[in-house]
Symmetry: C2
Subunit: 346 residues, 2 copies
């Protein structure tokens, strides 16, 4: 195993100098630097993780984790849970993670929150991107100070960020189309419905991208499947599922229903009841407890999940890797796997 000490000995310099070269710190004669670099390449030097981790303790690293929290954001619960588990692991390594639970999207509330985060002087930030001015300003300031940020669940390239950990929504829609085809034998009429909310409504990227992927895949690969209402989704609000019930009434021959974004999950039961005796394939996204139950009951045929556990843990790991080992993620898009769940593997 080749160490800094070894490099230093061979180069005839001190460990400190090698370290300066390694971390790109100034104050090394170009000639010395070249010699050291040549040796590192030649001997295949890789910094030892254990050593870096141990030395990193002194830095007292702090990471801020911002996440929406409340009854409207059930899906984020699994992410938060995974993030807290990961935070416990990191605490063992001397890293503190501060959680900021955002309960509403009021502008002045957010503005104050961002200030609070800023004043805590974090070394890294994990957050959802918010499409509001205070957030953009906040991000710009943090970026100016060299504080890296990771987005999860939703990407936002309107602002500088290190990477995104989350779903490829277009692909998610494609998988849903494939499932619809599989469950219907590739023939019949398919309907689409979605929850319409101020946070996650018809203009949200998760909705539009999934819809795009879904319709595109149907058109490209499954000519036997036609879209009910030409693919115009039935939007339901709160617990008023009349739009969905109406869709089923207008299309008695509907073979499958794709529920893109779910707010109140009992919409699945409502759809099932509205279908009466005839078979109806229901495809959804994500996998919260309510969905597990409905998969087991046979109300939902299949659901496409996006590894909420990875979305909670991977952003923290990515920041740790950057701050301690200096390594950046392989890509700025860390897409989660699209996991298919049916009754038997939930």
């Amino acid at each position: 195993m080749v160490t800094i000490k070894e490099i230093a000995r061979r180069a005839g310099v001190s460990r400190g100098t090698v370290d300066r070269v390694l971390n790109g710190r100034p104050g090394v004669k170009p000639e010395t630097e070249a010699r050291v670099r040549a040796l590192m390449d030649e001997l295949g030097y890789h910094p030892d993780q254990a050593g870096q981790m141990l030395a990193a303790r002194k830095k007292k690293l702090r990471i801020a984790f911002l996440i929406l929290h409340g009854p409207e954001f059930v899906f984020f619960l699994d992410i938060l849970h995974a993030a807290r588990d990961k935070a416990a692991d990191l605490r063992e390594l001397g890293v503190t993670v501060d959680f900021y639970l955002i309960r509403h999207l009021d502008q002045t509330y957010l503005e104050r929150l961002f200030l609070e985060v800023e004043e805590s002087r974090p070394d890294g930030i994990v957050t959802l991107p918010f499409r509001v001015k205070p957030f953009v300003d906040f991000m710009e300031r943090m970026h100016g100070r060299g504080v890296p940020t990771v987005f999860f669940n939703v990407d936002g390239d309107f602002v500088p960020r290190m990477c995104y950990v989350g779903c490829d929504y277009v692909r998610s829609g494609r998988v849903a189309a494939g499932l619809a085809a599989l469950c219907t034998g590739g023939y019949g009429k398919v309907g689409v419905a979605s929850f319409d909310s101020p946070f996650d409504g018809f203009d949200s990227p998760s909705f539009t991208h999934r819809m795009g992927g879904f319709t595109q895949e149907l058109r490209a690969s499954y000519p036997g499947l036609t879209l009910a209402d030409g693919g115009a989704p039935a939007f339901f609000r709160g617990s008023d599922f009349s739009a969905v019930e109406d869709l089923l009434r207008r299309h008695p021959d509907l073979a499958a229903l794709y529920l893109v974004n779910l707010g109140d999950f009992s919409v699945c039961r409502a759809a099932r009841e509205a279908a009466g005796d005839r078979p109806l394939v229901i495809i959804t996204n994500d996998l919260i407890p309510a969905q597990r139950e409905m998969l087991r009951e046979g109300i939902i045929s299949a659901t496409v999940s996006q590894q909420p556990d990875v979305q909670g843990s991977a952003p923290l790991q990515a920041l740790y890797d950057l701050l301690v080992f200096g390594t950046r993620p392989a890509s700025e898009h860390l897409y989660t796997d699209l996991l298919i769940y049916i009754s038997q593997n939930v």
Copy 2:
């Protein structure tokens, strides 16, 4: 953060003594030990991972990894690949992994191989369980010396081992049944076929357990599905798929075919051709390149995979955790997830 030094200071002893208590080494007065233990509980002491990792380098740990290798064992290639990646990570941490590629199951060859492994004096072993006497003896000897072993892909409780990392085959069969039901609408005739080999034939646990789970789930949850030939599988050997073609000929109304263990994967194409124009749902297990292609082409409808990457890496990680941190896995059965792949998420 509470360290050994802190405990030692408060207990009025030296670090060495605390370390003795911690690692259960002899030579500590019971009274002192009690005091130290009380303090550790009180202050919530947890050994620091970075410190342990750094100190572990001096142990020069060696792990032996035994795996079947050859054209008959294509599935193991993904496992081997993941294991090699993990081995590279561990090498960075000062751990050496020696791979033993087993090319045939000749008894005397195996016996010599086990001796070779034994003489390399490994600190841990990752292997498949072999149902032969030399292996059992080998395991007994290693167990006697306190060398921990992890089984992957196939479990074997006929011999002492620390844990198993791999598939829950009964559940795997259940998922396949669920997929068959989903793809057929829950009505029709379902056939079963499997590769018959000396290594992985009709008496192998992966086959019998999957068959059990499959038939059990069909009977319990899908009364509309009936088993062709009463569930007796069509066994094919090598590239002679006549048994499968015969099955399709005898059951022109076959709606789905479950291919349990695949040797030559072109059996899927053969089945597809034998089905002619009528639709035939084909469900398989695992996901090697040949299957990816056939999923994309629509020949295979869905396949149930068992995380070969985890099967390659997790056993090594489990041994590292034991040897360096002294932590044992949460359960002696580390079941991999049953991942469903269709054309769109391969």
